[in-house]
């Protein structure tokens, strides 16, 4: 392989994606990736400020450097876990499903080279936790700990080594696993990985965070004590090695940490290369096997009997119609039904697209039933808050994939004689029906476990349904505005910028609803009567705006046809 040539080609593709090229540059709208970069920069800046503030607070009463290093180690380990949970999956999809793989497979390249090229391609996609969490944490720590110049110079190398450890080991594991599943299940298995990652996140959210928040004592003191206790264990993780290198640990520890870090990274990459040379070719071939399906019975529907040729033409365009109309009053399929029928088929045959959503809904349904009897849940407000979180998250996850799921078929939205508003409404109905069903089941189980009374049920519904409606419409809008019709990874059907915007929208909605709920709980004063109505009114107003924006997107052909 001509490594220089390949590298040059990739660098050019990146530059062209960022800045456009040629006379038609303006038409290609190259600003999208620049916006994404700006958003990433903002997120990194926020993490940096937060982490710097935490370190400064810890350092002020004279905490030992070991505690500060432990904080850095923890941040780096969190970033690594993020790489494993979220980016491993996108790296493996890049390695297995990317569109240029057929080209690479046809070229005389050994599997090792394909692995190298595709991991390079995965770099920008699989580096978000490093750029958004690890890098800002490193910078903040270096500032607080007054790192020597050598540490600054070593930082990029350390980050690269850190990144290689989860990705190399994870890729090796994933490939070994994929080589063992049947060919037609490879894509699904890949979806399963993301589903598990997603489920893990939901679980943490649901159980760990409320517990931590509820602990007693002065928070900073607790953090310091926890860090001090965890420091020895953290020092033996990749994050700890990196923290020792960059955080001015004693010389002996630095040498040991550098050795451990380099050895772990090298072993990871070597393992990935070994597994790839054994299995990559087979897995690539398997991933390209379409999901064969037995022929359907319905394909040959009986023709309507006695196609009568005497009936007068129905519409103006039937005047020169090639075909006679049947005598019975012709039944038309309403757009809503047609869209739902299509979506049901597409979804059932590509369940990985929403597999993580289903898992989340399942967890939400089962967990209250299992866990609540142990710790009685007295407050209907808590039930409501949990359901609101579910409605916002689920509505977005389902709706945002509605447009991207159509891929090139989305062109029919411009082609067919159907109003953009009708399209938006049909998509709303289709995505909303699924989301409503899932939230309904989860809510019923939660409500039963918490033994809500009839009135509390009504109040909860009155808050949750508007929240669901709004999150579905906003999800549709993000899908229409930022959908990537060429997606391969079902967890990344939006562009990177789109995912950041979506995350911001989800957080804003959750905050808004929780604030409203809290206000209603403590409701008094002259406007208290208004509070129960506010969610519904706000949701109707904002949803109408969002649906209008979706329709405008469709009208403008905002959803690009490749």
């Amino acid at each position: 392989m001509n490594a220089r040539g390949v590298l040059r080609g990739r660098a050019r593709a990146l530059r062209n994606a960022l800045f456009g090229r040629g006379a038609k540059r303006a038409a290609l709208r190259p600003r999208g990736p620049l916006y994404s970069l700006a958003l990433v920069a903002v997120a990194a800046w926020i993490v940096h400020s937060g982490f710097a503030a935490l370190l400064a607070a810890l350092a002020r009463p004279g905490a030992p450097p070991a505690v500060l290093r432990a904080a850095l180690a923890l941040a780096l380990d969190v970033a690594l876990a993020g790489v494993l949970l979220f980016d491993l999956e996108s790296a493996v999809s890049t390695l297995i499903l990317d569109r240029d793989l057929d080209l690479l497979r046809a070229a005389p390249l050994p599997p090792r080279s394909i692995l190298a090229i595709k991991l390079l391609d995965a770099l920008p996609r699989a580096a978000a936790p490093l750029v958004v969490v690890a890098l800002p944490a490193l910078i903040a720590a270096a500032q607080t700990l007054q790192a020597p110049a050598a540490a600054w110079l070593a930082a990029p190398v350390v980050l690269a080594l850190l990144w290689a450890i989860p990705l190399g080991a994870g890729t090796a594991l994933a490939l070994a696993w994929l080589a063992r599943v049947p060919a037609r299940r490879v894509r699904e298995s890949l979806g399963l990985v993301s589903t598990l990652a997603f489920a893990a996140l939901w679980l943490t959210n649901l159980f760990v965070l409320p517990r931590i928040a509820a602990e007693e004592g002065e928070p900073l003191e607790r953090v310091r004590a926890l860090l001090a206790a965890a420091a020895p264990a953290l020092a033996r993780t990749p994050g700890g090695w990196a923290a020792a290198l960059l955080g001015g640990a004693p010389a002996g520890e630095i040498a040991r940490s550098a050795g451990a870090l380099a050895a772990a990274a090298a072993a990871s990459v070597a393992l990935a290369a070994l597994v790839a040379s054994r299995h990559l070719t087979g897995v690539l071939a398997a991933a390209r096997t379409p999901v064969a399906r037995p022929a359907r019975r319905r394909a040959k529907r009986p023709l309507p009997a006695g196609s009568d040729r005497t009936l007068p033409a129905r519409s103006l365009r039937s005047a020169n119609s090639a075909h006679p109309l049947p005598t019975r009053p012709a039944r038309r399929v309403p757009l809503f039904i047609a869209v739902m029928r299509r979506d049901r088929r597409l979804f059932v045959r590509d369940w990985t697209v929403l597999g993580d959503v289903l898992t989340a809904a399942l967890l939400w349904t089962c967990l209250p039933l299992l866990a609540l009897p142990l710790r009685p849940l007295r407050s209907p407000w808590l039930v409501r808050a949990m359901l609101l979180a579910l409605a916002v998250g689920l509505g977005y996850e389902i709706a945002a994939r509605a447009f991207p799921l159509e891929r090139r078929g989305a062109a029919w939205m411009r082609l067919a004689p159907v109003r953009a508003r009708s399209w938006a409404a049909a998509r709303f109905a289709s995505a909303g029906a699924l989301a409503l069903a899932l939230v309904g089941v989860a809510g019923a189980s939660l409500g039963l476990a918490a033994r809500l009374g009839a009135e509390e049920w009504l109040a909860t519904l009155a808050a949750v349904i508007p929240a669901l409606a709004l999150s579905v419409t906003l999800g549709l809008w993000t899908g229409a505005a930022f959908g990537d019709p060429t997606w391969t990874n079902p967890r990344a059907v939006l562009t990177l910028g789109g995912r950041l915007v979506a995350a911001a929208l989800v957080v804003a909605q959750m905050t808004g609803w929780l604030v409203l709920t809290a206000a209603e709980e403590s409701g008094s004063g002259s406007y208290a009567w208004l509070l129960p109505w506010l969610p519904g009114l706000a949701a109707i107003g904002l949803s109408a705006v969002a649906v209008g924006a979706v329709a405008r997107r469709i009208n403008r052909g905002g959803y690009a046809i490749p």
């Binding site: 038409a27 075909h323 109309l325 049947p326 399929v333 047609a338």
Partner: protein, 248 residues
Amino acid sequence: MESAPPLRIESLTHRYGDLLAVDDLSLEVGAGEIVGFLGPNGAGKTTTLRVCAGLLALEKGRVTIAGADLAATPLLARARLGLVPDEPFLYERLTPAEFLEFVAALYDVPESLAALRSSELIERFELVAAAGELIETCSRGMRQKVSIAAALLHDPPLALLDEPLTGLDPRAVRALKDLLRERAARGLGVLVSTHLLEVAERLCDRVVIIHRGKKRAAGTPAALLAGRAEATLEDVFLALTGDAEPAS
């Protein structure tokens, strides 16, 4: 209204950023007429067809489809045309039969009529065996056939075809030609872009040749040859579109 031609394009101009892709183009397709749309790669054929079908915004000029103004009454205009795009717009995880059923609903074709027409088209294009398999597993030519069937399912007065012969086997090419001629005999107007000049010469009543977005010639193949030194449509095409690339 009855006499409105299936397609009338008046001074259509379309830009991609600074690039002028279609430059003040006017043409008309009459009822029952099959018009070949010829031009070298990048001449602006796909762009023109996409603007007429409403896929790209109509920025300058006027497009009327069977009397319906594309800018003023876009839905009516879209209902009166069928487009076969250069790359089919399909759903990979539907079967051809299910896909046609969905498209029929989009165009408001009654269910029973849609079933009748789609089974007729499926038989005509020898898709019967494939009709129940996922489109994902269909070959390039089979997809093209599905795309053509979808465009003609609602029996529009105008068909816009962008290189419809791509991937078709000789028997399917013949089936398509027969179908177009049959429908044209009943009033269908056809604008078909193609690079196959022999096909254009034999299938089309008229041809329009464009180059760098501008119309270079129009008329029956015979009329284009009359009074020229060139002996075939191919030679005429090469002579009309052979000027050197502009420096850019």
